[in-house]
């Protein structure tokens, strides 16, 4: 545990200091209906503050208001309700995001502009992130490596947290729901003149749940976790300010592998983020940023005699200093450029090495409005790296406003994802089954060793093929869309997208072992594309009522598979005991875990007279395949599919005595379950919530 006495003291004293300040200067909240008329702004798309409505890129904001009215507690819950986004459980129990049909490992997750780490198997578990101190969530779709480098291949999700507000304030929030799930959050913040300070604590615990009664294991074992976040802002002058944030997350969960093998798994994560901003004049500003984060996961299993059966650890560190500057030669025309250095290390069980990644980078972007109606953004980034090929990621975007109602926008960008530590350095042999997985760089040392030990029966891929560097996965993302304001109350937008990924990293068998098992390693192979259409509509007839709807059509396919179908190399049977027949191109369904159709419809109702708000939200995803059930190696129309489903959530919140709010809601109203196929839907969740502002 990093949470030793020293750290605790720091956190505690921050609390104490903040609570000692007298309650004064309580800010009178602006009338919320008025505030809504203001334009929503976001920072993720350009790294400068931009109006959402004028942006040439497909982007979206989830507001604090939506988070509050839906009584969401974790990031995965709210993202699941957004058009074209869905969280997918991985085998390790984490829930990662699928965006434009791309896997979780291709979407960069940021908190206040800096990345979260800890993707032990590629997935970044979004249930790690509490929404208790979130101001808004910004989602930018399409390749964004021109600003953010690796991982921003499909898009970027940036979680913007609350900063200290003028005066003294705070809140307490408690939600109790099914499975004895307790979520408690509190924030205290204070700002006077130059100094702002805030502290946030969240505790979430749950008894977990079990979808399969037949075994002794729970689907989700009991857990409890804490998130602590303290922030300090200091305005030296009107033009110079400092932002410091320290976040700490710790989770403890039972880890049960079988009736006899029991243990615990622990996650400890900290992030420190420092940003110093200075505005030289109307045209020039500069930002110095320092970010360091460590993600540590440990787990162990003991057998029934209390003897240690297995011990696993994962310990990743990232340090990133960055300097950037903006220059605005004239209004509505901005250059932003930055240079930085990314340093990462990882210690992990079953690694050949303690690898170090060093990657200096630089980027430049120009955002301009040559005419009133035209906005152009061009930018590029260069990432150098000690372990893989340097990457140059350009991007261009354009928006043209025909009139007040109609605008057309398009963007094209390059995105990449560097091979991760696991794909390079893994050296893992399954103790019970006996197969081996080797990272690309581990092959040349590990295979001769296995040969020496007499474990190799034959080598299928010679070691010489592992001389070149493993290439980063890269993609070209194209988005074309329109914004259309039918009336002042009805907004529509359509976006067509296509992401073409090259050098996708996959596993293959490189050698047979004498025990009948195989040696696997990683290699660049597939070309994959995801393409489709996203449609969003919102209708706000008055201040009390809001309806939003969204739909995504998706085709996510492997080009090599398409060719195999075209050539007539793929066969299937009507049922397992009928003669086989040849499949054609139309029979190829696409990649696993992708639904052709996803949709959502949300209705928000607000009655100021009773200080009451209510909403009903529904999401739908059409059928999808989890694996190749008929053994031809591809997902085709004759495989078994997970049936499509929809989930309906309702929530009602009422404010009492100005500062007290009571909420009640039901997630998954009709208790939808698919215990066979869907492990992250535990059934109906009834909950109550209490929120106190002070």
């Amino acid at each position: 545990m990093i949470l030793n006495k020293k750290y605790f003291c720091i956190y505690f004293s921050l609390f104490l200091i903040t609570s000692l300040f007298p309650q004064e200067q309580k800010e009178v909240k602006a009338d919320s209906t008025k505030a809504e008329r203001l334009e929503e702004v976001l920072i993720t798309a350009t790294r400068t503050v931009r109006q959402l409505s004028s942006l040439p890129l497909p982007a979206q904001i989830i507001s604090k208001k939506e988070l509050k009215s839906t009584n969401t507690i974790r990031l995965n819950d709210i993202l699941n309700e957004q058009t074209g986004l869905i969280t997918i459980p991985d085998f390790g129990g984490g829930e990662g995001i699928q965006l434009q049909g791309l896997d979780s490992q291709y979407t960069l997750i940021l908190v206040d502009g800096v990345p979260l780490i800890g993707r032990s198997a590629g997935t970044l578990d979004l249930s790690r992130v509490t929404v208790g101190n979130i101001k808004q969530i910004e989602i930018v779709k399409g390749a964004s490596s021109s600003l953010y480098g690796s991982e921003a291949l499909g898009g970027v999700i940036n979680i913007i947290t609350e900063k200290p507000k003028q005066g003294f304030g705070g809140n307490v929030n408690y939600r109790l729901g099914a499975f004895n799930t307790n979520d408690f959050s509190t924030t205290i913040d204070y700002k006077k003149e130059k100094l702002g300070i805030s502290a946030f604590v969240n505790r979430l615990s749950s008894d977990g749940y079990d979808l399969t009664e037949s075994d002794n294991l729970n689907t989700v074992e009991p857990f409890s976790n804490y998130t602590l976040n303290t922030k300090l802002t200091y305005d030296f002058t009107e033009n110079t300010d400092l932002f410091v944030s320290a976040r700490y997350y710790t989770q403890n969960q039972d880890f049960i592998a079988s009736e006899v093998l029991r243990g615990e798994s622990n996650i400890n994560e900290w992030n420190t983020h420092l940003q110093l901003n200075h505005k030289y004049n109307e045209k020039w500003s500069s930002y110095f940023e320092f970010y360091a984060t460590r993600y540590k996961a440990d787990e162990f299993l003991d057998d029934s005699d209390g003897l240690r059966f297995s011990d696993n650890f994962f310990n990743q560190l990232m340090i990133r200093p960055e300097i950037r500057a903006t220059y605005s030669p004239k209004s509505k025309s901005t250059f932003i450029g930055g240079v930085g250095f990314n340093h990462e290390t990882l210690e992990r069980t079953d690694f050949t090495d303690e690898p170090i990644f060093n990657s200096p980078y630089a980027y430049l972007q120009y955002d301009t409005n040559p005419t009133e109606k035209l906005n152009i953004i061009v930018g590029a980034r260069f990432d150098s790296h000690n372990e893989y090929e340097s990457q140059f990621s350009p991007k261009a975007a354009l928006r043209y406003e025909f009139n007040d109602k109609l605008a057309l926008k398009g963007s094209i960008g390059y995105g990449f994802k560097a091979p991760d530590f696991r794909q390079l350095y893994f050296d893992f042999t399954n103790a019970t089954v006996g197969y081996t997985v080797l990272g690309y760089n581990a092959v040349s040392t590990a295979i001769p060793l296995l040969e020496e030990q007499g474990q190799i029966a034959n080598i299928l891929v010679p070691i010489s093929e592992f001389q070149d560097e493993l290439k980063p996965e890269s993609s070209i993302g194209i988005n074309v869309g329109t914004d259309y304001k039918l009336t002042s109350n009805i907004k529509l937008n359509i976006n067509l997208f296509r992401n073409t990924i090259d050098n996708l990293i996959d596993t293959r068998i490189i050698a047979n072992k004498n025990n009948g098992q195989n040696v696997f390693s990683y290699f660049n192979v597939n070309e994959v594309y995801t393409q489709g259409l996203e449609f969003n509509a919102s209708w706000k007839p008055n201040n009390q009522f809001k309806i939003t709807g969204g739909y995504q059509l998706l085709y996510a396919k492997d080009k090599e598979a398409e060719r195999a179908f075209e050539k007539g190399e793929v066969f299937a049977r009507e049922n397992p005991s009928s003669p086989s027949f040849q499949l054609d191109k139309e029979d190829y369904f696409g990649l696993y875990n992708r639904s052709r159709h996803m949709a959502n419809l949300k209705l928000f109702y607000n009655i100021p007279k009773y200080k009451l708000n209510a909403n009903i939200r529904t999401t739908y995803r059409s059928k999808y395949g989890l694996f190749d059930s008929n053994g031809n190696g591809y997902l085709d129309n004759y495989d078994n599919f997970v049936d499509g489903y929809s989930i309906i959530d309702i929530a009602v919140n009422k404010t009492f005595y100005k500062n007290y709010e009571l909420g009640f809601g039901v997630d998954n109203l009709f208790d939808f379950l698919d215990t066979q196929n869907i492990s992250n839907i535990p059934g109906r969740i009834i909950y109550g919530k209490l929120n106190i502002q002070f």
């Binding site: 066969f571 397992p576 003669p579 086989s580």
Partner: protein, 210 residues
């Protein structure tokens, strides 16, 4: 209609007359028919996690009669559990494995039963002391094993092409490994090791098409 009939008769006449001139008055070609054999029982003893070596007699099949046989010599292919052997080459040396007396061979072709219309002689292999011509193991040969459902299912698009012990050819598509070939077999309730397969035997010497 009349024209068609006439035309057919004419075609048949030409066909027959040309045959007779080519074959020097030899026997006309025997008909090739698609057959289905159901519930060929292929029990085995031991193996599959029992800790014992596999043993038990193979169930032999003769394409020329279309029947099972217990003959030591007059058989083409034989089954035990998921293993399929041919009467050609040498024994792998498992318990109770019959000696090879003929010149049978085999390979697995990718296609539908209808699309495999000609034998590719160069692909034919025989059983050997390192492995069978029809490879054993899930995904290697004709079947897939689903460890969750304990189910053996024949892989779609895998057609077994055989040379018989006496140099004729046959093709086989295995449909089911379970008794009475249920549409959706259940390893818990349906008895396994019962082969149902479609086959075509080409009884004419030297003809490699079906």
């Amino acid at each position: 209609m009349k024209t068609i009939k006439l035309f057919t008769l004419l075609a048949l006449f030409i066909g027959f007359s040309s045959c007779s001139s080519d074959d020097d008055g030899g026997t006309p070609l025997l008909e090739v028919e698609s057959e289905t054999f159901s519930n060929l029982h292929a029990p085995q003893v031991g193996g599959q996690g029992t800790g014992q070596d596999v043993s038990g007699a193979f169930t032999k099949f003769d394409f020329s009669t279309g029947q099972m046989t217990t003959s030591e010599t007059d058989w083409d292919i034989a089954f035990r559990g998921t293993s399929i052997i041919v009467n050609g080459g040498v024994s792998l040396g498992t318990n109770d494995e019959p000696g090879r007396t003929g010149n049978a061979g085999a390979y697995i072709a990718d296609g539908t039963f209808a699309s495999i219309s000609e034998v590719n002689i160069s692909l034919i292999a025989q059983d050997s002391d390192t492995g069978y011509a029809i490879p054993s193991g899930s995904g290697n040969g004709w079947y897939l094993y689903n460890p969750q459902a304990f189910l053996i299912t024949p892989i779609a698009g895998k057609i077994l092409v055989f040379r018989t012990r006496d140099g004729k050819y046959a093709k086989v598509e295995i449909l089911s490994y379970y008794e009475n070939a249920p549409d959706n077999p259940d390893a818990m309730t349906d008895a396994g090791r019962y082969y149902t397969f479609n086959y075509i035997y080409q009884p004419n010497d030297g003809i490699i098409t079906f």
